[in-house]
């Protein structure tokens, strides 16, 4: 049996207009034209937690394992851990960025049918400060170790190392 007909019967021709090795059900081997949809400028904070959306023609609905800067990204969906899935139309894929040191980072998508690497897809920059975070922390007793209660108590973010 030809490799082109496995599981889906014999296919006529070797190119169906949707990429090589097309089985008639889309292309499970490639992600076509993937790019960072949001954040639009491709910049994410270094403390993680930013939701990133990729756009493109995705091979399958998932699960995808997304690795950014060598760290596995979480799906952001309860119960799915790091297994990321596309939307129904397979045009966007969302995941949550991990904590990373400032700099450009490669994005690696891995799924059952293959993998794809987007070089320097996202740039991590230092986080901004959110005044309400400190206000909320101050509401809780000092015994709770929640980090700085005042902005002045925060370590100044200089340099490019990843902060603990």
């Amino acid at each position: 049996m030809s490799a082109l007909s496995e599981g889906f019967g014999h296919l006529v021709g070797t190119y169906g207009g949707w990429g090589d090795n097309d089985t008639g059900y889309g292309d499970p081997f490639h992600v076509t034209g993937a790019y960072v949809l949001s954040p639009a400028d491709g910049r994410i904070p270094d403390d993680g937690g930013a939701v990133v959306r990729l756009a493109g023609a995705f091979a399958t609905a998932g699960p995808y394992t997304v690795t950014l800067g060598g760290k596995t990204c979480r799906s952001g969906v309860a119960g799915r851990a790091s297994a990321c899935f596309t939307n129904t139309a397979r045009t966007t894929l969302a995941f949550v960025a991990p904590r990373l040191a400032p700099g450009d980072h490669d994005l690696v998508l891995e799924w059952a049918g293959g993998s794809e690497t987007l070089t320097a897809a996202l740039r991590t920059v230092r986080r901004h400060r959110a005044s309400e975070v400190y206000a909320l922390r101050r509401l809780l007793p000092p015994a709770r170790r929640l980090g700085a209660r005042l902005l002045d108590d925060e370590r100044l973010l200089i340099g490019s190392e990843e902060l603990p």
Binding site: G49, A130, V133, E154, L157, I158
Partner: protein, 344 residues
């Protein structure tokens, strides 16, 4: 890498959201800033606007550019500029409208738009009439929600709001000897304009007379409740707007009950003029049992799927009854589709 506790993570997430909603972004200086410096080195400019305003210890500092870790083009006020140490908080002062402000804006007629404007109308029992754009609906709500109801002036404002997009506007000139006369090109005005309100800015006048060649009109300095004497001086820059209707008072009915004479200028809007009495011959009978009279505005070709914008005065029992009354009195063959009922 140190792990983050659940409570810390939740607080951070909530704090970030609250900051987005109504707080202020901030960052910190990573190098001292002298009083004359025009570049501030900071931890991050993430999510700051490309140009805007910063606050440093009470000093307001506009900036014109930003890099990844610096703000450039600082405009320092020599009277208040001072030096700042590294670590000083730098707050974003550019957000004239935070998300919370936008939420508040959605509750204001003047600022709400789209579905927010619909929700505002629903909350006050004033649904958006079909095919009425935001501009007209907003004007309508401003009248319906805030004006005293039942007055002739209120009715005029409602009519004007509902038909705002069909008004005719232009620029006319004036001559000092005849301060109430507006001059324009031949054929600009027509006899259909006589009796119609004419807006100059927020002021409302009434057209008394139109020259036979349509090159001028006289405004009526009457004693009505919604127009006043005009005196535009001598110039060539009077911007006017003429709504597509006249309002005729019925002397033998209660105050606030009017007949509407629609005068459409556009060719697609039907015949040049309709009197409500022509459309509804039984208008006086529309008040059985002392119920107030309803009004209607013709919006489209009467014979081809006519659309009415109707409302009623306070005291009318309910919408269905009004609909029944209206259907009983309209001429046979006329398709009555009540667009909406608006309490005036």
């Amino acid at each position: 890498m140190a792990s983050i506790g659940i409570l810390d993570g939740l607080l951070k997430a909530f704090g970030e959201e609250l900051t987005t909603l109504h707080g202020e972004l901030s960052t910190r200086l990573t190098a001292p800033l002298a009083a004359a410096d025009v570049v501030a080195t900071v931890e991050s400019t993430l999510d700051f606007p490309d140009a805007g305003v910063l606050y440093l210890e009470g000093e307001r500092v506009p900036y014109t550019s930003r890099a990844e870790t610096s703000f450039g083009g600082l405009v320092r006020n020599p009277l208040i500029a001072s030096a700042h140490l590294a670590g000083t908080e730098v707050a974003d002062g550019s957000r004239s409208f935070s998300q919370l402000h936008r939420l508040r804006g959605d509750g204001l007629v003047t600022r709400a738009a789209g579905s927010a404007l619909d929700r505002l109308g629903w909350r006050h029992g004033e649904r958006r009439p079909l095919a009425i754009p935001d501009t007209a609906y907003r004007a309508l709500l401003r009248v319906l929600l805030y004006l005293e109801r039942g007055l002739l002036s209120s009715l005029l404002r409602v009519l004007d709001a509902a038909l705002l997009t069909q008004s005719r506007s232009g620029v006319a000139g004036t001559l000092l000897p005849q301060p109430n006369r507006l001059l324009a090109a031949l054929g600009t005005f027509s006899s259909q304009d006589v009796g119609r309100p004419l807006y100059v800015g927020e002021r409302v006048y009434r057209v008394r007379e139109v020259a036979a060649d349509g090159s001028s009109l006289d405004l009526q300095p009457g004693a009505g409740v919604w127009w006043c004497a005009g005196n535009f001086g001598d110039g060539n820059d009077v911007s006017y707007r003429i709504p597509p209707f006249r309002v005729l008072e019925l002397p033998d009915t209660d105050p606030g009950i009017v007949l509407v004479d629609l005068v459409f200028s556009g060719s697609s809007l039907g015949p040049p003029s309709y009197l409500l009495g022509d459309i509804l011959p039984g208008v006086p009978e529309l008040t059985p049992g002392g119920w107030p009279l309803g009004h209607e505005i013709l919006e489209d070709e009467l014979e081809d799927g006519a659309t009415f914008l109707c409302w009623y005065l306070p005291g009318l029992p309910d919408e269905d009854l009004f609909r029944t009354m209206l259907e009983e009195v309209v001429a046979a063959g006329v398709d009555v589709r009540l667009n909406s009922l608006l309490a005036v």
